[in-house]
Amino acid sequence: MVIHVDARGCACPEPVIKTKKAIAQEHDEVVVLVDNKTALENVKRFAGKSKHQVTVEEVEDYYQLTLKK
């Protein structure tokens, strides 16, 4: 199952909290959208700590992170 998290426009630390809540659920992958580098770095760091592999794709004016176990 793929869980989608749209954290665009969210202030610190909401993108990471939303990601944390998503990966606490049953999932195959979690797709997170963020729109600034700070959120990108924070979610990436959190994903690394919670043993997920991250791929980042730049789409238009935001970033799409795919987290896999």
């Binding site: 426009g9 969210c10 202030a11 630390p13 909401e14 809540k21 600034n36 580098k37 770095e41 760091r45």
Partner: protein, 351 residues
């Protein structure tokens, strides 16, 4: 690893520059204080008439431009806003009241600890309690809703205001106030303050340094990256003050501080709580304002308004202790922040 090093270096340089600014004329343990500097600036442009705290602080102008330049270099200048501006404005006023009852923003709290001021340890405990309460709200789904992209022109407004402030500071027309005595009269030369702000602003933009995040992320995500910066500020400030002979361990007779434990604690509870809801500490708000974040600009306008309220209403503390109205103001602010928190809890199951 690289990130941790950058945060550590940023913290260390902030500590170092802060001690140097005091050596060159800033008030004791006030190399940097975002709350005090907005209070002085508010006084400088006559928004309050407390004669001892009136001076347009160039450090703030430097911070804004340091962050602006660094964000332009890193292609991160991105004007955005519209995330509950009125609520942010009110939260910022509350944070300023808390900070001026304690007598310092979280950054000055760290610098006070670095100078041996044990009252700041009491403040730190309050700060942590406030952050913990804020985290509880975040976990329950607190949000001020999304920010949206805005025009480059909107993002340029605050930096341009700062150019205006710099011109007023240097030109010193008769309608601008300059303290003749007290903390407002104590300052490093303009050019040094400006350069100090530029360096710290650039580093803080690059590293995302935030005094609230250090404690918040440690509790919330067991992520201590930002805490390293927090510790480095204090460590370097201690070493610097020891070298300069300005380290003075104790509660009594500390520079621009009082030793009323309860209100040092309560003031910083409001600062910690409010700052978590705002998404970052006062320094971080200044940095974000330079990146084009107009929600942070609204927060800064709230800080300036809050500082004016504090001195017009006599809420700010002095070296003797809290003012007669200070404690009541802190309680009211705590209630306002709590109400804002409760009113903005959202179910987050939709993510």
């Amino acid at each position: 690893m690289k990130k941790t090093a950058l945060i550590g270096i940023t913290g260390g340089i902030i500590g170092l520059i802060a001690v140097a600014l005091v050596y060159f004329g800033n008030p004791g343990n006030m190399g940097f204080c975002i709350a005090c500097f907005f209070r002085d600036t508010a006084g400088g442009i006559g928004l309050h008439r407390a004669e001892v705290v009136q001076y347009i602080r160039p450090e703030i102008i430097g911070l804004v431009f340091g962050a602006l330049i660094m964000s332009l270099i890193g292609k991160e200048f991105s004007p955005r806003g519209g995330s509950s501006p009125a609520i942010r404005f009110v939260l910022a006023i509350c944070v300023m009241v808390g900070a001026l009852v304690f007598l310092g923003c979280p950054l000055r709290m760290m610098l006070r600890i670095g100078g041996g001021d044990l009252n700041a340890i009491v403040g730190l405990v309050g700060f942590i309690v406030g952050i913990a309460v804020g985290i509880l709200c975040l976990n329950k789904g607190f949000t001020l809703n999304r920010a949206y992209k805005l025009s480059k022109c909107e993002g340029a407004v605050y930096p341009v205001i700062n150019i205006g402030l710099l011109v007023l500071l240097v030109a010193a027309p008769a309608f601008i106030f300059f303290s003749a005595e007290g903390p407002g009269s104590m300052h490093a030369p303009i050019i040094l303050s400006l350069i100090a702000g530029l360096v710290v602003g650039g580093l803080a933009q690059k590293s995302r340094f935030c005094t609230v995040a250090g404690i918040r992320d440690t509790i919330l995500f067991k992520d201590t990256t930002m805490l390293i910066g927090f510790i480095c500020v204090i460590a370097v400030a201690i070493i610097g003050n020891l070298i300069m002979g300005t380290f003075n361990l104790g509660f009594e007779a500390q520079p621009i501080a009082h030793s009323d434990g309860l209100w040092n604690f309560m003031g910083m509870v409001v600062v910690g709580f409010g700052s978590v809801l705002l998404g970052g500490c006062p320094l971080r708000q200044v940095i974000l304002s330079g990146e084009g974040n107009t929600d942070s600009v609204v927060v800064i306008f709230g800080f300036i308004t809050g500082a004016a309220i504090c001195h017009n209403f006599g809420l700010a503390s002095s070296a003797e202790g809290p003012s007669p109205y200070g404690p009541a103001a802190v309680i009211i602010c705590l209630i306002v922040v709590a109400l804002i928190a409760v009113c903005n809890l959202k179910k987050t199951s939709k993510a």
